[in-house]
C-alpha cells in the first residue's frame, strides 16, 4: 500500500506525473505551501510542488545565485536549467523567503540562457507575512489574480463550483493525513516516520484524487495491521527548514529512533487546517492558507507556532526534538534556537542540526550527531 507513495516521492518525474503528462494533462509547479494548489486542481491542471532531489551538480544554480544563499532554491534552478522540469507547462514562484522570491528573476534569466528551461506560464504569487484583515484582503486579490492568469493562459473556466469541489478533494486528503497522524501517536509503531513523511511528500506531487484513494486504503490497512513493537526506540519530533528528502527522516530512524511527528514544509504541518467549503471559495482559500502562520516567514507569530509544536509533542509523546536547518536559512535557523530554549525548559531535549540541502552529502556527520543525541536520551 505504501508503494505508490514511494514511487511518487522517489523521483522528480514520478510515474503518476508521467502518466498524467502522457495522457495530455498539464502540470504546473509551485514553490511554497502558502499557494493553494486547489486553484490548479480546479482548472484540471496537476499542481506539482517543486522539489530539489536528484541534484548532482550546482553549476547552473551557482551561476545565477551568489554564494551565501540556501541550497534549496539553487537546486530548483539547477534542475530547471538542466531540463528536468521540462514536463511543466507552468510554474508559480512565491515570496517564501528572499532566496525563494528571487528564484523568479534567476529562473527568468536562466530561461534566456537555457532554451526550454522556463515554462510558458510563469507567475509570481505574492503572500503577505501577516494575517490582519488588510493582509487578508491583499491575499484574496492575489488568489483572484492567479485564478485569472491561469484561466487566461490555459483557456479554462475556473468556476466557484470547480473551486469548491477542489477544496473538498484537498480537505479529504487532509482528513486522511490527520488519521494517519493519529496512528503515529500509538505507543508501538503503526507506520514509520519515513513512510509517513513519504506519504506527505507524495501528496504534493501526485493527482489528489488518486492520492486520496491510495491513502484511504493505506489508513484502512494500517488500522488493521499489528503494530511493530517500539523496542525502546526513542520518539522524535522533527522540525525546521524545508525538506522533501525522505532519506533525512530515514537517517534519523536508522540511527535508532522513530519519528512520531514532523512539522516540516512538505511534511504534515498544516493538515489540520481545513478550508471552509461554504461561502465564497476565494475567501475560504485565503482564510485557510493565511491564517495559521505555520512558517517563520510569518513574522511575530512564534508563540502560535510553538503552541502548535508543543501540542504535537505532547500528543505523540515525543521524547526529543530534532531541529534542522539548511545553512543560510536564517528564519528557521534562528527560530530553531527559540524552540530549543522553550522545549528544553519543558524538559524535552533538542538537537540542532545545520545542513546543506541536497543529496545527503553530510550523512556521516549528521548520523554521528543523531546517534549521540539518541544516546543522550537513553
Amino acid at each position: 500500500m505504501i508503494t505508490p507513495f514511494r514511487e511518487a516521492a522517489a523521483r522528480i518525474y514520478n510515474p503518476h506525473a508521467a502518466e498524467w503528462f502522457a495522457g495530455g494533462g498539464q502540470i504546473a509547479g509551485y514553490t511554497c505551501s502558502f499557494m493553494p494548489p486547489e486553484i490548479f486542481h480546479a482548472a484540471g491542471i496537476l499542481p506539482y510542488r517543486l522539489r530539489g532531489i536528484e541534484t548532482e551538480t550546482m553549476e547552473i544554480g551557482d551561476a545565477y545565485y551568489g554564494p551565501y544563499v540556501c541550497t534549496f532554491p539553487k537546486c530548483l534552478l539547477q534542475l530547471a536549467g538542466q531540463g528536468k522540469y521540462g514536463f511543466l507547462s507552468g510554474a508559480v514562484i512565491s515570496t517564501g523567503c528572499d532566496a525563494m522570491r528571487r528564484l523568479d528573476e534567476c529562473w527568468r534569466m536562466a530561461g534566456k540562457d537555457y532554451p526550454d528551461a522556463l515554462p510558458e506560464f510563469f507567475h509570481y504569487f505574492d503572500v503577505p507575512h501577516k494575517t490582519e484583515p488588510h493582509a487578508l484582503a491583499w491575499f484574496k486579490d492575489e488568489i483572484r489574480r492567479l485564478i485569472t492568469a491561469v484561466s487566461n493562459h490555459y483557456g479554462v473556466l475556473i468556476t466557484d463550483e470547480n473551486l469548491k469541489s477542489a477544496i473538498s478533494c484537498y480537505n479529504r486528503g487532509r482528513e486522511l493525513l490527520l488519521e494517519m497522524e493519529s496512528l503515529r501517536a500509538a505507543e508501538d509503531v503503526v507506520i514509520s516516520g519515513t513512510d509517513a513523511f513519504t506519504v506527505a511528500v507524495a501528496g504534493t506531487v501526485m493527482p489528489r484524487q488518486r492520492f486520496n484513494e491510495h491513502l484511504e486504503a493505506l489508513v484502512h490497512e494500517l488500522r488493521a495491521a499489528a503494530p511493530e513493537p517500539a523496542n525502546g526506540r526513542k520518539r522524535i519530533l522533527v522540525t525546521g527548514s524545508i525538506n522533501d528528502d525522505t532519506d533525512l527522516v530515514g537517517l534519523i530512524e536508522d540511527a535508532g529512533a522513530v519519528v512520531v511527528a514532523d512539522n516540516i514544509c512538505f511534511g504534515i504541518r498544516s493538515a489540520a487546517d481545513m478550508v471552509r467549503t461554504d461561502g465564497d471559495p476565494v475567501d475560504a482559500l485565503a482564510g485557510g492558507y493565511l491564517s495559521n502562520s505555520v512558517c517563520p516567514r510569518m513574522f511575530g507569530a512564534y508563540d502560535q507556532r510553538f503552541a502548535n509544536l508543543r501540542e504535537k509533542a505532547a500528543r505523540t509523546g515525543a521524547e526529543g526534538v530534532i531541529l534542522q536547518n539548511i545553512r543560510f536559512c536564517d528564519m528557521h535557523g534562528s527560530e530553531n534556537s527559540l524552540i530549543e530554549k522553550d522545549f528544553e525548559a519543558m524538559g524535552i531535549p533538542c538537537l540542532k542540526l545545520e545542513r546543506e540541502y541536497g543529496p545527503l552529502t553530510e550523512t556521516g556527520r549528521m548520523k554521528m550527531r543523531i546517534e549521540a543525541f539518541l544516546e543522550q536520551l537513553s
Partner: protein, 466 residues
C-alpha cells in the same frame, strides 16, 4: 561575551565617545591636533569628521543628540522603539517616540572601534540567532539582547517581504525581549492601486499600534511640522545632488554617507535641515569655483555604489577613495525618491509626494515615504516594475557620470546575493566596469579591510580606471 564588555552599555559608550569627539574641534587647531595623540583608536574616525569642517562637527553633535535622546528617554518619560534603517523615523518624531535604529547604531560601533561590534554580533550567535544573518542588525542587536542598552519598549520594522533576514532579526528580538511588535509588510508591487491602498491601510494600523502602546495620540500639527521639514530637507538634498552632476564633483567623498546617515537618524527634524544647509554651502562654494570635493582637488574617477558602503575600521573606504582621487557619487541609500527629485523624472509613480492638506493626506504621505525608502523600494524586486534595481542603478550612473559601479553588502543579505550576479552582468553589458565586493560592510573578520582595499585596487587597475 567577554566579561569586560558587560561593563558599559553600548548606547552609553557611543554617546560618550561621540560627545567627546564633537568637542574636539572646539579648541584651537593646535589643541585639536594635540588631543588626537590621546585617542589613538578613535583618531582616524574623528579626523574624518573634523576634516569635513563645519558640517562634520555639526554631524557629530547631531549624532550625540540622537544618542542623548536614547539614554535619557525613560527619564523624560518617553518610549523607545527598536527599528530599522529603511524605516523613516519621522512618524516616531511626530509621536515623540525615541528610535533606536539597529543598523545605524552598528555603523557607529563599526566605525569607532577597532574590534567593531563583533563581540555583540557573536553574542547574538550565542543566543542562537544564526551567524549567517545580516551583520548590520547583529552588531547593535547583540548589545540590546545582552541588556547593554536602554530598555526597548516596542519593536517596529518594515522589511517583511523585502528583506526577510532583516525582518527575522526583529522577530527574534521580539520573542527574546518579549516586546510588542509591529511589522509593516510590503507587497511585491509598488505602483499599482492595491499596493498603494495596502501601504496606507498597513500604516494606519501601525499608528493604532503606536498609540496603544505609548499612550500618545498622533498630533496632526506635529506631523505637519515633521513633513514640512522633510520636504525642506529633500529640497536641499535635491540641490546638492544636482550639483553632484558637475565634473569635477564638488561633494567631498563623505557627503553622501552623511546625507543618508542624517536621514536615517533625523528625517523630519530641524537638526537635519541645519546639517544639510551647512553641507549645501560647501558644495555650492566648491561648484562655483569649479573645485572637486576630493582633498587633493583632482578627481580621477567617479564610482557609484549600487548597494551600501563599507563601514569598518575608521571609515577606511572613504579615506581610500579620497586618496585615490575617486569621487563617491552616492549609493542606493543616498537617494530619497521624492517626486521632485530630478532623477525621478519619468518614474513619478514610483516616487513619493508630500501632501499636508489634512491628517489623512499626511498619513498617506508618510506611508508613501516609508514604502519608498532605500531598499524597501528598489531592492524588493517589485514585480510591477521588474528590474527596478538595475534600471535605477543605470539611470543614476548615467546622470552622475559614473565611471564604474561597485556592489558592497553583507554575506547575510540573501536578497541581494540572490540576484547581484545577474545585475552585475547587465551593468557590464551596459558598459560599466562593475566590481562585486565580497567582504562584510560591518564585520572585518569576513574579509580584512586590507584585502578589500587590495581587491579594489586590483579592480581599478585591471579595468584601466586608474
Amino acid at each position: 561575551m567577554r566579561p569586560e564588555i558587560y561593563q558599559y552599555n553600548y548606547d552609553w559608550m557611543l554617546w560618550r565617545a561621540i560627545q567627546a569627539a564633537g568637542k574636539l574641534a572646539d579648541g584651537s587647531e593646535k589643541e585639536t591636533r594635540k588631543m588626537m595623540s590621546y585617542i589613538p583608536y578613535f583618531r582616524k574616525t574623528a579626523e574624518v569628521f573634523i576634516n569635513m569642517g563645519k558640517p562634520g562637527i555639526s554631524y557629530l553633535k547631531r549624532i550625540e543628540q540622537y544618542l542623548d535622546n536614547i539614554v535619557t528617554a525613560h527619564e523624560k518619560g518617553k518610549k523607545i522603539v527598536m527599528t530599522t534603517f529603511c524605516f523613516s523615523p519621522s512618524i516616531f518624531y511626530a509621536m515623540d517616540i525615541v528610535p533606536v535604529t539597529l543598523e545605524v547604531m552598528t555603523v557607529l560601533g563599526s566605525a569607532l572601534w577597532k574590534r567593531g561590534t563583533t563581540d555583540y554580533m557573536d553574542y547574538c550567535v550565542e543566543l542562537g540567532f544564526t551567524e549567517t544573518s545580516c551583520s548590520s542588525q547583529r552588531g547593535c542587536l547583540g548589545a540590546y539582547l545582552a541588556g547593554l542598552g536602554e530598555e526597548i519598549d516596542l519593536i517596529v520594522t518594515n522589511t517583511a517581504g523585502v528583506c526577510d533576514t532583516n525582518a527575522n532579526a526583529f522577530a527574534f528580538a521580539q520573542k527574546y525581549l518579549d516586546k510588542p511588535f509591529y511589522s509593516l509588510n510590503y507587497p511585491s508591487g509598488l505602483t499599482d492601486n492595491p499596493a498603494n491602498q495596502y501601504h496606507r491601510d498597513d500604516f494606519r494600523e501601525l499608528i493604532r499600534f503606536l498609540e496603544s502602546h505609548t499612550g500618545t495620540t498622533l498630533d496632526p500639527d506635529r506631523l505637519r511640522a515633521v513633513l514640512d521639514e522633510t520636504a525642506r530637507q529633500e529640497a536641499i538634498v535635491a540641490e546638492i545632488e544636482e550639483l553632484q552632476r558637475l565634473v569635477p564633483n564638488p561633494l567631498p567623498v563623505t557627503y553622501n554617507f552623511v546625507i543618508y546617515g542624517g536621514r536615517f537618524f533625523f528625517a523630519g527634524m530641524p537638526e537635519y535641515t541645519e546639517l544639510l544647509t551647512d553641507m549645501a554651502e560647501v558644495v555650492r562654494d566648491n561648484a562655483q569655483n569649479g573645485r572637486s570635493g576630493i582633498t587633493s582637488g583632482i578627481e580621477k574617477k567617479r564610482a557609484f555604489f549600487f548597494y551600501i558602503d563599507h563601514y569598518t575600521l575608521n571609515l577606511s573606504l572613504w579615506d581610500w577613495l579620497d586618496r585615490h582621487g575617486i569621487s563617491h557619487i552616492g549609493s542606493i541609500l543616498s537617494r530619497s525618491f521624492k517626486d521632485d527629485q530630478p532623477y525621478m523624472k519619468g518614474m513619478e509613480d514610483a516616487a513619493y509626494s508630500i501632501d499636508t492638506t489634512d491628517l489623512d493626506t499626511m498619513i498617506d504621505s508618510i506611508a508613501m515615504i516609508n514604502s519608498r525608502m532605500p531598499m524597501v523600494r528598489s531592492i524588493r524586486g517589485p514585480y510591477d516594475r521588474p528590474n527596478m534595481w538595475k534600471e535605477e542603478s543605470l539611470a543614476l550612473a548615467r546622470i552622475y557620470k559614473a565611471d564604474c559601479l561597485i556592489y558592497n553588502g553583507t554575506p547575510g543579505c540573501r536578497n541581494t546575493w540572490s540576484n547581484v550576479k545577474l545585475l552585475a552582468g547587465d551593468l557590464e553589458k551596459a558598459g560599466y566596469p562593475t566590481h562585486i565586493m565580497y567582504g562584510d560592510a560591518f564585520d572585518e573578520r569576513v574579509e580584512s579591510w586590507e584585502s578589500t582595499a587590495a581587491r579594489l585596487e586590483e579592480f581599478f587597475t585591471i579595468r584601466g580606471l586608474l
